[in-house]
């Protein structure tokens, strides 16, 4: 059996999700357009609303605050571009970090061309943004703070509560966008209590389906849509909704939320044990100690990232290297370099990313496999 430790890249859909998709798609009644006036349309719309309510309940927000998109990147783009473009009087300054996902960074780059000022605050070796710098940077021209809840490469968790406090203290009109793509289903998310104004999510990272993103926009926050047309989803996101994708997401989210604290605790102890065994093999742990236990970034001495990836792949263990592998440019992960991780560590970085279904046995097998790889391939 293969071992899949690349859950931050994507996850395997739950069997019940696969079943649901099959049943919905082969049903004689469930293919209606939720916008149609006839019975099939009404049925689809009702189902869609019910499923949206289930999602809203899991995330503690209102149904009207949720919008369905095609992916996490679309949600991020819509939040950042859409908020700034819709609210020119809110200011032209955005504060973020350079360790964000490219979906955010590219949105900032676009806005910079449109005349915005992007202020990147430094990130330390633990992936934590410099809060003093943040406090100093927020002024009355600051329209938006945009941060990642959990970093996809290291698992570093954002000190959200403190950031919200600082925002409240410095400028209550400044909005916060939170990229929750990696934290969803792994950390508790309660949108109405977190103090964020916009949040982005993705379906396929929580064992639902690729091609589905979710966008949260707090009531009262005005955002310009990215996709226009038939005016679906109250004009916020045109294009016919896909009820089966929403059902799949609702199902996967409920499953993920069910035993979230227990899973988190269990994964923490598994991760700690796995990390300790890796360290015994001489591996350096790059992820901070207090990172989300589902992500573990490590560096293998004398193995370049891609070599280790292929060595593990040979043993049907799937992991990821986030470094751009090019001996010519010596390019390594921009996230790790930004954190100040040394070049020789970053060059050999490999990311293990887990899901709640992963087991101690899988981790032990991986440790054994790594010992064998060292034996055979170490040069």
């Amino acid at each position: 059996m293969s071992i899949y430790f690349d859950n931050s890249a994507t996850t395997k859909p739950l069997p019940e999700v696969a079943r649901l998709v099959y049943e919905t798609l082969s049903s004689e009644e469930e293919y209606g357009n939720p916008g149609s006036l006839h019975r099939l349309g009404v049925m689809a719309e009702k189902k869609l609303n019910d499923d949206t309510d289930r999602i809203a309940k899991c995330l503690s927000c209102k149904r009207d605050e949720l919008f369905f998109t095609s992916c996490g990147s679309e949600s991020v783009n819509t939040s950042i571009l859409g908020y700034i473009r819709q609210n020119p009087r809110a200011g032209k300054k955005i504060i973020s970090t350079k360790t964000e996902h490219k979906a955010s960074l590219e949105s900032f780059a676009r806005l910079e061309k449109e005349g915005c000022e992007i202020c990147y605050i430094p990130v330390d070796i633990h992936g934590q943004p410099d809060l003093a710098a943040l406090e100093a940077a927020i002024d009355d021209q600051t329209a938006l703070l945009s941060f990642t809840h959990v970093n996809n490469e290291t698992g570093a968790i954002l000190p959200l509560e403190k950031i919200v406090q600082i925002r409240n203290k410095k400028n209550r009109n400044t909005k916060i966008h939170l990229d929750c793509v990696q934290s969803l289903g792994k950390l508790p998310i309660s949108l109405s209590r977190m103090g964020v104004d916009m949040a982005s999510f993705s379906g396929h990272k929580i064992h639902a389906l690729k091609g589905f993103g979710l966008l949260y926009i707090k009531s009262g926050v005005r955002v310009q849509p990215l996709i226009i047309g038939g005016g679906q989803q109250r004009g916020m996101r045109s294009g016919t909704q896909s009820p089966y994708l929403v059902s799949a997401f609702a199902m996967a989210l409920e499953e993920a939320t069910k035993n979230l604290p227990e899973n988190l605790e269990r994964m923490t102890s598994l991760r700690d044990e796995f990390a300790a065994k890796l360290e015994e093999l001489g591996v350096t742990i790059i992820s901070p100690k207090d990172a989300l236990p589902y992500v573990l970034n490590v560096s293998f001495p004398s193995f370049q990232s891609e070599t280790m990836l292929h060595c593990l792949e040979e043993k049907e263990i799937y992991v990821s290297t986030v470094s751009a592998c090019s001996s010519k440019s010596k390019a390594v992960s921009y996230v790790l370099s930004e954190m100040g991780v040394k070049l020789e560590l970053a060059r050999n970085a490999v990311r293990f990313s887990f899901c709640r279904m992963n087991t101690k046995e899988e981790m032990d097998q991986t440790i054994a496999a790594i010992s064998e790889i060292y034996e055979k391939y170490k040069v």
């Binding site: 004398s302 193995f303 370049q304 891609e306 070599t307 990836l309 292929h310 060595c311 792949e313 040979e314 751009a324 592998c325 090019s326 001996s327 010519k328 055979k376 391939y377 040069v379």
Partner: protein
């Protein structure tokens, strides 16, 4: 007046025309290569007349070449066949008078001016059909005058015109303007077969292309060291072979699984000689496979002094293991910039610079010996069973047939 012209292709042979008694052999090979190259587009009649080749769709009703996009693709494919200096899309029409010629020349001028902002032109004319009552210079003058009358904005420039209208009077009549340069050389298949040492880089595909342009058929060998290099690196090499095959014809790609040999070398020979011992074994494996496949030479992309393994000493010491055939290095005196230009021209550059190539250069010593001597290599190989390693390499080979992708 009718507007019934048909688009055909006129290709011009190069160096072959200078051949003596065996010229026929070269021409037959060129025609056969042309038929093979154009197969993917449809059925064509390909007729040679002196140093020119006329290509038209077999079915007289076909409008295959009437779509500009398709016509350009076919034209490009034609120029990729080695042995041609240039090729043009030509309008062929049936006519008898100078007025017929003027009519089509004017249509062609309109067509050109709709896409280009040209100011000057000239007309050149050839008369093969001597029954036509006017001589070539008279035809050119008459047609030029008609164009000047129709387009007041144009003027004639016989030295450096923006465009040229060519008129030919034969059994049928022809007008055309642009010439697309061919890749010249000699038809593949007229100079035996060579074994190309293909890596994922910029140089080796260009070296293969250059030898193919001298008429050589190609096979290739690639040394794969998974898990140190990825499956994608292999896919990239296949893509490069596919690009070269547009010019050279089908390539047999031999993939040698090199990982275990590399590990063996790593453990049993000194660090600073690793690149040299590795290349010597690669050459020996390549020679064995070449012999088996009846190739008459090895081909590499080496360029003198480019990297540590390409100093004259290093080349000499790797060269000496090949005993039964020459090793051709068409890029030996070329600088990198020039090679990159050829790579771009043949459409390989973008693929060559994809990062997978040597991303996992674990085996490359930090300070390789740049001026190795005989004694170094004897010492370096003292603990190696070279014969067994070569045998292991040859036996582990997997072969793929690489053909150009349709409409590539």
């Amino acid at each position: 007046m009718s507007h019934a012209y048909k688009t055909v292709i006129l290709a011009r042979m190069g160096e072959i025309a200078l051949k003596g008694l065996n010229r026929g052999k070269f021409e037959r090979q060129l025609m056969s290569n042309m038929r093979w190259r154009l197969k993917e587009f449809g059925a064509f009649t390909i007729i040679q007349s002196q140093s020119r080749i006329w290509i038209e769709p077999k079915d007289p009703e076909s409008d295959l070449l009437e779509d500009k996009q398709t016509a350009q693709e076919v034209l490009k494919a034609v120029t990729q066949v080695f042995g041609l200096v240039s090729a043009s899309l030509v309008w062929k029409f049936e006519g008898t008078t100078i007025d017929d010629i003027k009519q089509y020349a004017l249509m062609l001028t309109d067509d050109i001016l709709s896409e280009h902002d040209y100011k000057t032109f000239k007309v050149e004319s050839k008369r093969g059909n001597k029954r036509f009552p006017m001589a070539s210079p008279e035809i050119a003058a008459d047609v030029g005058e008609a164009i000047l009358i129709a387009h007041e904005e144009l003027s004639v420039d016989v030295h450096q015109p923006d465009f040229v209208i060519y008129v030919e009077v034969r059994e049928s009549m022809y007008v055309y303007s642009e010439k697309l340069e061919g890749h010249r050389g000699l038809p593949v298949g007229t100079a035996g077969k060579g074994m190309l040492l293909l890596s994922g880089g910029i140089d080796s595909p260009v070296a293969g292309y250059m030898m193919a342009s001298r008429g050589m058929q190609l096979e290739a060998i690639y040394f794969h060291s998974y898990p140190y290099t990825s499956e994608r690196a292999l896919e990239k090499v296949k893509d490069l072979a596919r690009i070269v095959s547009q010019y050279s014809g089908t390539i047999l790609l031999h993939v040698c699984n090199f990982t275990d040999i590399q590990l063996n070398l790593y453990k049993n020979s000194p660090q600073d000689m690793l690149t040299i011992t590795m290349r010597r074994i690669m050459f020996e494996i390549a020679e064995e496979v070449a012999k088996k496949q009846e190739c008459k030479c090895l081909i590499t992309g080496e360029s003198l002094g480019q990297v540590a393994s390409q100093t004259i000493e290093a080349i000499q010491i790797t060269n000496e293991v090949v005993k039964t055939m020459p090793v051709f290095r068409p890029l030996i005196g070329t600088d990198k910039e020039e090679t990159c230009n050829i790579s771009r021209r043949i459409g390989a550059f973008e693929t060559s610079i994809l990062p997978y190539e040597d991303c996992c250069t674990v085996f490359v010593a930090k300070h390789p010996k740049t001026h190795p001597q005989k004694k170094h290599i004897i010492e370096a190989e003292s603990k190696l069973d070279i014969e067994a390693l070569v045998k292991q390499g040859v036996e582990g080979i997997e072969t793929y047939k690489i053909e150009r992708t349709p409409r590539g």
